[in-house]
Symmetry: C2
Subunit: 359 residues, 2 copies
Amino acid sequence: MTPIKLPSREVFSLNGKDNTVATPLPWYLFVQLYMEEYAADIDSISKAQTRIKPYIHVTPVLTSDTLNTVAGKSLFFKCECFQKGGAFKFRGASNAIFSLHHQQAAKGVVTHSSGNHAAALALAAKLRGIPAYIVIPKNAPKCKVENVRRYGGQIIWSEANMQSREETANKVLHETGAVLVHPYNDGRIISGQGTLSLEFLDQVPQLDTLIVPISGGGLISGVVIGAKSINPAIRVLAAEPKGADDAAQSKASGRIITLAQTNTIADGLRASLGDLTWPIVRDLVDGIITVDDKEIVDAMKFCYEILKVAIEPSGAIGLAAVLSEAFKQNSAWKDSLNIGIVLSGGNVDLGALWESLNT
Amino acid sequence: MTPIKLPSREVFSLNGKDNTVATPLPWYLFVQLYMEEYAADIDSISKAQTRIKPYIHVTPVLTSDTLNTVAGKSLFFKCECFQKGGAFKFRGASNAIFSLHHQQAAKGVVTHSSGNHAAALALAAKLRGIPAYIVIPKNAPKCKVENVRRYGGQIIWSEANMQSREETANKVLHETGAVLVHPYNDGRIISGQGTLSLEFLDQVPQLDTLIVPISGGGLISGVVIGAKSINPAIRVLAAEPKGADDAAQSKASGRIITLAQTNTIADGLRASLGDLTWPIVRDLVDGIITVDDKEIVDAMKFCYEILKVAIEPSGAIGLAAVLSEAFKQNSAWKDSLNIGIVLSGGNVDLGALWESLNT
């Protein structure tokens, strides 16, 4: 076998001294080394892509001349609401489930989540033929509970507070020996979500900017590592509700801030950063755009009426961000021209719409 | 130049007589000849495809394991609600506009339509830089009027009856010298809509059945000619509201039936067949499935909640048809396994949804 050749060293003289310096590492090696301190890297994301390929949808990218005119930019919408389970969450969940060893897997998985992660985990577990125990607070949206049930998840109810949720999950873990799969603070989840960026940049190579919703940070962590590994110059911005702006506050203060309470229509964006996602968000995400609920609802309206895509409030926040004054007025981002927006999920109760149709 | 060689004639004897018979024509020539009596053929559809390619979206095809389980079939959803203008109508409209001679085009186009054709024609005219005069009845849905306005159409109001619409359109024709582009009873329109089937069968070659909404018959006429030219064995079924079942009645009685009044939530499916679409529907469409408004609303619900696609009632009728007892109980259609469903449009007023989000 040929031994691996390290970068050669060159000797030259500037000032009579013998200046021996290392040749700079190629950028991709730099990126790879740089990222090894994080819970995911381009290698784990590429492996995730291969692992989950048989199970996921390659989601389409939509464009709209009307919205390009409104934004004054070329916008590309990555429709993860069309992903299995109705949200990007299935990428991470299926990566976590299918990377479990056989013996681990047999005992099943458990999570405490009221949202899209729960349904995604139930679906991935069903595909592998293992049990999924889903701890759900009693006040969870009906459609998200129905999704878990549809995919065969075993629902265990808890009270609507974090203490009860965690205690109930621990009880299930103890009784079943199942593996806990956290919704975002988990390298397997981050790597799975990162596959979105490889797929998106393959579909639209000219993207110079990505705008990604941020909550616990699992999606944007995977996306920023994947995207900057392919194109180090790409700008990755987070979109966050003003009523749950813990990530913006954390970036501003240089440490994880958690909020005593949140207040936003975007029920999928109320979580706080974890110790695995925070360093990635801190170091690699180029900025955070916060928007209020009115901006989110206006963006939802555009999604339904112009794009014809049925999304949940959290899913519309990327469009809200690109249309916000906060984005338009930031001179550092003027050169963002080809902007990829992740429409992250579409699970929303539409009761009111159907009532109006039935009258 | 080599002269074109006609099919050779063979001579053989079975019963002592000299039986001179023509060699059978190859099937594609048969199909081509057979179809020449209609307002469109595979040649006009192929030319339309080349003509409109720079302007249209290639719309994605979505699948859902959940809906496959509900239907007991493999369903493929052609999302024409993502077409420019929010409906398949832009295919026909852009074919009509871009096939006009320069001098004709300069005077503009006119149509009397309250629906998706009006917006599509306005948009296509805008792209060619010519005026579009759109006669709209005063009771037209707000979102459809807004679409026409967004695309720069010149709106001329009429009363909400056909006589006033036609009189107003004639007045505009007389004053401007513009060309009338009928929503469906026009070979250019039928050929343009037919491009959908070439695209769909290219994306999903294994389709054995197509289910297409029927109203005036422009879409299904183009689709059935295109699809059967590629695969003569393919089954093409129409989906029609029970409250506007003129096509089903026409097929049953062998002549065009028009209804004194219609009653359905599917506002895009209230038109009657024209003299150009009727012969195609009569001869080539394999059957018509009628569904009631409750079935349409249930299908809409599936589209929003499972597919995450925002459609109008007319757009959901193909899914309603495949889930109906009328389809399931028809033993002649048991062998339909890979079914293509056209989600034809997505222009719907969502006021009630936004009100509920804003409370």
